[in-house]
């Protein structure tokens, strides 16, 4: 086994909860009147040494990019440069959003420069940084599209077209914005079925949402024809930025005919995912849609920076500007790389995916792929994932997209060295050679053995009080 993950025990269980270590029930004494206050509060009560040990231990029982590869397709879990945390810790970030523009010029300048930079990268005319995650960016983009259609007298358009292999968020965001979702089948090459699109697009079409390369890592070669179909039908094109990592320096969604796009800063620009956020999902739009962007936007006037509300703004999607520190880290990451560095990112991401695919025994049914590929397991893909854990690596995304049997959707990213790619290949192949009985036993070297998720869902215990 290449790994033995930390496991702390106490009393026959893994590391106890804070609450199980020590809680205290205090009588709440407040200068507020009694009828407004609670009588008691029961919370964990540990001194700093024990707090530090608790979270140190928990961290040791967790796996991140700093531990090893996380080749989750579509998630783009690449290395997060440490220095961006130091930039984020700079005192100049400690600014309240309700200061006057005059008093926060540093903040506004960074926002402005990041807006402009993302616009250049996406080939978009205007960018809002506000959405606090990729999915929020999708929702924002759809709201912008809706506002545009309404302003065009086209408010009756009620459908958003989404390929079957799209991210679940595309469906959910469209539904949240009140649209009906029309699912588009893939063709035998794993790409958009253009005829089906032709049939689906029409006067009800508000938007087509695509990611390109798609979730199989395949470039939608017909994107220009696709754009024409949608535009001819009076619809708009939305680019899901999840796979932008493979286009840096190579192509721009704006040049492909997309009208709206989001950027996942934690994916493309390597801000830490933090075990589930904060992310940030800025969106870019073509000029016609710029007046509809959320407020405030930032502009430069004679060397000073000021906020303003776009003419027909949809308003806000976050109370302030979303996850400010994510913006700072992403900006620092972009500046660190420059043009050549960004292009080298996509080149290496694509090289790494292709190299890894060439090294593994599982079949990869579609191609040519870019930064990610979907292999097909002979076994249950979920079992493959669990068994890979015993090889000290995080497995790929499993069982999705569904057009590949027992899919192993794999995106190694550009920051994995050849040695780590070889490790991953070795892990894939070792698992492929593992018998079913052993597979069912895996994982054994991890903090927890295999977890019964079905039973956890049947009998939900969601807080200490439920135990």
């Amino acid at each position: 086994a290449p790994h033995q993950q930390t496991r702390w025990y106490a009393g026959g269980q893994y590391e106890p909860l804070l609450n199980e270590k020590s809680t205290d029930t205090v009588s709440v004494e407040s200068s507020l009147p009694d009828d407004l206050t609670r009588d008691e509060l029961e919370l964990p009560d540990l001194a700093e040494p024990e707090v530090t040990r608790h979270y140190t231990r928990l961290s040791q029982m967790n796996y991140g990019i700093d531990s090893g590869p996380i080749p989750l397709g579509s998630c783009t879990m690449k290395y997060n440069p440490a220095f961006t945390e130091d930039v984020a810790a700079h005192r100049g970030n400690r600014v309240h959003p309700l200061r006057s523009d005059e008093d926060k010029q540093g903040i506004l300048r960074l926002l402005y420069e990041l807006q402009e930079t993302l616009g250049a990268i996406g080939g978009m005319d205007a960018v809002t940084l506000q959405p606090p995650a990729g999915a929020a960016g999708e929702f924002t983009g759809i709201q912008v599209a809706k506002a545009y259609h309404e302003e065009q007298g086209d408010g009756s358009r009620s459908e958003v077209i989404v390929p079957e292999s799209a991210h679940g968020t595309n469906f959910a965001s469209a539904a949240m914005a009140g649209y009906d979702v029309v699912e588009l089948p893939s063709n035998e090459d794993g790409r958009v079925e253009v005829d089906a699109l032709e049939a689906a697009a029409g006067e009800d079409t508000a938007l087509l949402m695509l990611t390109n390369p798609n979730t199989l890592g395949l470039f939608e070669r017909d994107i220009e024809a696709i754009a024409e179909i949608v535009h001819d039908a009076g619809g708009l094109l939305y680019y899901d930025g999840a796979n932008l990592n493979s286009l840096l320096g190579k192509a721009r969604p704006g040049d492909m005919g997309f009208d709206i796009m989001h950027f996942n800063l934690h994916k493309t620009f390597a801000t830490p995912h933090g075990g589930g956020g904060p992310g940030q999902g800025p969106i870019g739009v073509v000029a016609d849609l710029a007046p509809f962007l959320p407020t405030p936007q930032v502009r430069e006037v004679d060397g000073d920076y000021e906020t303003y509300e776009p003419d027909r703004s949809i308003g806000r999607v976050h109370e302030f500007v979303g996850n400010w520190l994510v913006l700072v880290k992403a900006y620092a990451y972009i500046l660190r790389h420059g043009d050549d560095g960004l292009e080298r990112i996509s080149e290496t991401a694509v090289l790494n995916a292709n190299y890894l695919a060439s090294r593994i025994e599982y079949e990869v049914p579609y191609g040519p792929f870019h930064h990610e590929f979907v292999a097909s397991a002979d076994e249950d893909a979920a079992d493959v994932a669990k068994a890979m854990l015993d090889h000290g690596v995080h497995p790929p995304t499993t069982k999705w997209p569904e057009i590949v049997d027992e899919a192993l959707m794999t995106e190694p990213t550009e920051t994995e060295s050849k040695a780590r790619l070889d490790d991953l290949a070795a892990a894939f192949d070792a698992v492929a050679a593992t018998g079913p009985a052993e597979l069912a036993e895996a994982p054994t070297t991890t903090t927890a053995r295999r977890i019964d998720q079905a039973s956890a869902a049947r009998n939900p215990r969601l807080s200490w009080r439920d135990l």
């Binding site: 919370l43 997060n80 309240h96 300048r109 968020t169 470039f219 290496t348 190299y355 060439s358 977890i451």
Partner: protein, 442 residues
Amino acid sequence: MPYVTHSEAERSEMLDAVGVSDPDDLFDIPDSLRFDDDYGIEAHSERGTRAAVEGILEESADLTEFLGGGHYDHYVPSVVDHLSLRGEFLTSYTQYQPEITQGFLQALFEFQSLVVELTGLGVANCSMYDRSTALGEAVLLADRVRATDGDRVLVPENLPARVRSVLDNYTDGPDITVDTYPTSEGTVDVDGLAAAVDDDVSLVYAATPNAWGVVEPDLDAVSDVADDHGALFCVGSDAVALSVLEPPAAYGADVVVGDAGVLGLPTTYGMGLGLFACREEFLRQVPGRLVGAGEDDAGNRAYTLTLQTREQHIRRERATSNICTNQAWLALRAAIHAAWLGPDGLTDLAEECVTGIAETCARIDELDGFDAPVHDGHHFREALIDTDAPAADVVDHCRHAGLAVRAVDDGGEDRLAVCVTDTNRARVDELIDALAGYGGAA
């Protein structure tokens, strides 16, 4: 290329393995779509990048802030940074493989436990983006669970415009109408609310402390009004205030939203950590991530993301929310901060939020030309102040003294809002001096 790890020899070997001479050959992109231009971004060394970005950040003024309005500053102890920045936490992904991510799952379970204790409700999720989107999700949840005749929700007239704007986007899709109900003396006008509510209302929202910093005095009555019409009662608050306030469940709240970023997150230009809790009966309609306790094959308790069939990656357009990445790392930070404080420390901090603003108002009230606070009742962290002079002028005057306060538009009145917490309390003297100085000049 700082984070790309191949030597030239390795790169050649890899190119050979995939059968191309240049990685560019692997790009299956039509020539017509090739980007041949430059972005125009210059590369920097790590040191140069730090200097460049930090140089920009230093262009903001150096001010002592007395600003609140939905984003608050408390001292965050060093352990929060030291522990949350540990790479295994910071650089991890959503816990789709629970066997190797027990640490983060347990921390999120503990965060949920904290929110359950603070709200008194049965279920808490492990974060929303901020308080405004949490309110948006609460309204969508109400829309799903309440079979009312219509689709109206009621919010107080002093709901901050920024929050209202977010809510308007959330309610746009399902065509929910957001109406306001009146306030009186800065708090809920219960009679006015009763007049505004009807059986077509799915949710009534009230915040405590509210937008003017006032602790709502009679949420029992508000709850009753909502209940009478079959509407959900949603309370907005924050994790520090909830440590001393009556738990909302005790007076009938069905959902609690608000900000948990008052723990773990100092002023950071409005970053938030949305708090979301609700009654257990709505469990399968909860938006966002939930961590549950289960068992592993060794029979030990283990944690896992649970009830994922609510979520977009499985349920797609029928999901309870489109949320995917949200604010997990900030929930971890809040949990560490709360653990560091313990119940005594947390309630002490809350008490400072009560006494700090009260003392400050009393001192301001003694100055010529100012009345503070504008509203009766108990304040938490912030309060409105009446000024005889134009509020904007006072703000400007303070600014020249190195202090940031803000003017608010309270129904046409020109007022100041002042926020006092543990981090600026020692600077209140300067604020008093500045205001006194202005009074003298006026």
